[in-house]
């Protein structure tokens, strides 16, 4: 029994049913956010230390995110937060009425980093809807492609976007006492990364000039080169199609990938050593840092990396093939696994728009999933995207992001959720490269120029900004080893003559078909829900990791993950006057999620070529 809030029960055979005797099973309370705003307004007028702090845009994140907070600079507390996606992402509207074969290419453009992930998720949704099972080599090559995409994404975040928050330059401006201490603190992992002191590392984290910053840029090239050997191009691959991939794979292809992949064996060791040193140092410096960005480990992940002997694309078997993945799908609530089944993960999803610039929709066409599990009217298969730009108000609507929940709980998503669930659930296949212990993941990294080693990521006691980034660092060797495992499988398949990479299919011109793709971006959870009707897309719904993480308040008032994490963040920055306050602790908390607000979105309104995204006002100044 995984649902506590949705009215779904299970009989003795495990069949789900809607609880009986409930008048309106999916009703929910909508609270008035105005009361909180009235209190804040009163505080702001009386106390000079209580201030509005707005970041618009939040820099060093992908895309358009703004963040509003009210802080008490005397008590060093955050009093209120609002997360705002400031641009409309209209792919759901763009895809309506189109040929499903185009979905992978169009949805890929939803992100300039994770294009391949969107393309694959789209392919998976179509495969489920139309019953297309890719051949083993097609599945394995998609796995390698995904792992490589992570090897591009994680260094980018750790050193270009989030890393500068821990650099000598930025820390020196907000907490000079930490820099002084760093100069006297030896780095524990010097043997791996070569840095003698913590300050030496912090200097090389300096943006633009630091060696670690520049090295990460060069590693993105290594990953891109490996990626294009399979995907044709990056970030929008040309070879990901429903039914597999559309490029011939030979031993030469695999060798081209391998010569790049092995560079991440050493790099994974180095990166985990660096971030272990930095985060251990900060937490030892001031244990209060453990509260930066803290929230319960309540997370969702779709799982990724299909096993060719399990994946058949069917909805009926999705729990089986989902649980067979190298990264286990599921839901964590306060650090405990409540399900690893994709059907339950799917059935618990809802999206709410009470505080977003969308109109509510009518109708509940899919009351159950194809096997009878109840679905809410707010489930993606039932949702319609109806944009409605309007006035920004903390009392009412303030974001283009929706509020997705699972079992009515705001969920966090991230690369780390993938590793946390996999380590905890212990469902992933036995592997010579990875071992899941229930409290940690051991990663056996082969030698390249550094000797072979076993790295171990342990589930932390507190889930905070530092642990998000630490886990993300460990996702580099984790992803590299999954790529290696699949690379060996690909070699074996080619040796055995299993060189087919795709399964042909046709889009039926009659009938209705539904499916969902469950895959993972660099930032975690990604689903595409699809309905094909009479040969075209009737409905398409995308939930990205940042849809979860950047969510505004739920109708019943629960804050979204960014909002909750920042509310819980103590202000540890040093300042003499309120005007000197920079907000580094808040920004560390937000950036630890690796925000990715799909941007550069353009949508044509009916019967015109007008671009809607330009109408949106994002400035937070003067908003109620």
């Amino acid at each position: 029994m995984c649902f506590k809030n949705l009215p779904i029960d299970f009989d003795e055979q495990g069949n789900a049913f809607l609880k009986e005797g409930v008048a309106d099973p999916y009703e929910y309370k909508v609270v008035d956010l105005g009361e909180e705003q009235d209190k804040l307004k009163s505080l702001l007028s009386k106390n000079g230390f209580i201030r509005n702090v707005d970041y618009d845009p939040v820099t060093r994140v992908a895309g358009a995110l703004a963040f509003h907070s009210v802080v008490d600079l005397e008590k060093r507390k955050v009093l209120s937060t609002n997360s705002m996606a400031t641009l409309f992402r209209g792919y759901e509207v763009i895809l309506k009425g189109r040929d499903p074969q185009d979905a992978a290419y169009i949805s890929s453009r939803a992100c300039g980093v994770c294009g391949g992930v969107h393309a694959t998720t789209s392919a998976l949704a179509i495969e489920m809807a139309l019953g297309i099972k890719p051949p083993p080599l097609g599945i394995v090559m998609r796995n390698i492609l995904l792992a490589i995409e992570y090897l591009y994404d994680h260094p980018l975040h750790l050193f270009l976007l989030s890393g500068p928050d821990y650099s000598e330059e930025l820390v020196g401006a907000t907490n000079p006492e930490i820099v002084a201490k760093a100069a006297k603190t030896a780095a524990k992992n010097q043997a791996v990364h070569g840095y003698k002191t913590i300050l030496d590392i912090m200097k090389d984290l300096n943006p633009l000039k630091g060696k670690l910053y520049l090295e990460a840029l060069s590693m993105t090239r290594v990953a891109r080169e490996a990626y294009v050997a399979i995907g044709g191009k990056y970030p929008h691959p040309q070879s990901v199609v429903p039914g597999g991939i559309s490029v011939t794979v030979t031993i030469t292809t695999l060798n081209e990938v391998y010569t790049r992949l092995i560079k991440f064996f050493d790099y994974g060791q180095k990166v985990t050593g660096i971030w272990d040193d930095i985060f251990d140092f900060f937490l030892e410096c001031d244990p209060e840092y453990a509260k930066c960005g803290i929230r319960p480990a309540t997370m969702a992940d779709t799982g990724v990396w299909d096993r060719p002997d399990y994946y058949d694309a069917s909805f009926e078997n999705c729990d089986t093939w989902g649980n067979a993945r190298w990264a286990t799908p599921g839901i964590l609530i306060d650090g405990e696994v409540v399900t690893t089944n994709l059907r339950e993960l799917n059935a618990g999803l809802e999206e709410f728009v009470e505080h977003s610039y969308y109109e509510d929709w009518n109708g509940h066409p899919y009351k159950t999933d194809p096997m009878g599990m109840p679905l809410s009217p707010n489930h993606p298969w039932n949702k319609d995207t109806i944009p409605k730009p309007g006035k920004q108000s903390w009392r009412d609507r303030y974001s283009w992001d929706t509020c997705p929940t699972w079992d009515r709980l705001p969920m966090e998503a991230g690369a780390y959720s993938r590793m946390y669930l996999t380590a905890k659930a212990q469902r992933a296949p036995a592997s010579k490269f990875m071992e899941n212990t229930g409290h940690s993941m051991k990663i056996n990294v082969p030698k390249h120029t550094l000797p072979e080693t076993t790295l171990e990521w342990s589930i932390p006691e507190h889930w905070n900004a530092f642990e998000r980034n630490r886990a993300r660092a460990y996702c580099i060797p984790y992803s590299a080893m999954v790529a290696m495992e699949n690379w060996l499988l690909a070699q074996q398949l080619i040796r055995e003559g299993e060189t087919k990479v795709s399964t042909p299919y046709k889009i039926p011109k009659k009938g209705t078909f539904i499916g969902f793709g469950a895959w993972g971006a660099g930032r975690g959870f990604l689903t595409h829900h699809l309905i094909v009707d009479s040969g075209v897309i009737k409905n398409y719904q995308i939930i990205t990791p940042s849809t979860f993480n950047a969510a505004p308040r739920a109708p019943w008032g629960a804050p979204g993950p960014y909002e909750e994490a920042v509310i819980n963040t103590p202000i540890l920055e040093k300042y003499n006057q309120p005007d000197d306050y920079k907000g580094i602790d808040i920004l560390r908390a937000i950036r630890s999620f690796d925000p990715c607000m799909p941007c550069t979105t353009h949508i044509m309104s009916n019967n015109s070529d007008h671009v809607v995204s330009r109408e949106v006002t994002t400035c937070a100044c003067g908003i109620e």
């Binding site: 820099t59 060093r60 992908a62 980018l156 270009l160 943006p207 993105t220 090239r221």
Partner: protein
């Protein structure tokens, strides 16, 4: 038509945004031309960081770069063509970081390309921009009639600049990184192509 110089003609801009996509739309026409041996024609939409890395790896650097772009600027009519010369001068480091962040996360922008290229010192002494006024951003595959009518002029200008470089007959506006992100109306004077 012989040229011993190594020249890169590059197009920058999103696809399917009508006049804003003048580079991608005209790229096939540029590629079809019979160019001297030293001239390469490339789409430069695949990320400033990747472009920097590719140019750093070239055995011989380019001596001139000509970029075809379409940037909406106040005070111009749709289809106006202006010629800019990149003069370097970086913006502050926060702005450079923002450019790198945007570039690495997929944003296509000529400003980012120029600044990041400057920071990593990939640009030759002569970087010229042929900038066509696109007007407000609208969606669509084709150019509007105002810009379509200018296509021969655009192609001719790009070709001449690539082969000969800018001459005395060209009215060239300076473009600098330290003022690139300032808002305001630029005085284009009377010179237009």
């Amino acid at each position: 038509m012989e040229s011993s110089e190594r020249v890169l003609v590059g197009t920058v801009g999103y696809h399917i945004l009508r006049n804003h996509s003048v580079g991608p739309v005209l790229l096939p026409k540029l590629k079809q031309q019979d160019w001297p041996a030293g001239v390469s024609v490339e789409e430069l939409n695949w990320g400033p960081i990747a472009i920097v890395q590719q140019m750093q790896a070239l055995p011989e650097p380019y001596e001139r770069v000509v970029l075809l772009v379409a940037i909406e600027r106040a005070g111009r009519a749709i289809g106006n063509i202006d010629l800019f010369r990149w003069e370097g001068h970086l913006p502050d480091e926060t702005q450079i970081q923002a450019c790198v962040g945007d570039a690495a996360t997929g944003v296509i922008s000529v400003d980012n390309l120029l600044v990041i290229g400057e920071y990593f010192k990939i640009w030759p002494r002569e970087v010229l921009l042929v900038d066509v006024e696109p007007g407000p951003e609208t969606a669509g595959e084709n150019l509007t009639p105002e810009v379509e009518a200018k296509v021969p002029v655009i192609l001719q200008l790009v070709r001449r600049l690539a082969i000969e470089g800018a001459g005395e007959q060209d009215a060239i506006h300076p473009l600098r990184g330290d003022t690139l992100f300032e808002t305001g109306t630029y005085n284009y004077g009377e010179s237009r192509h």
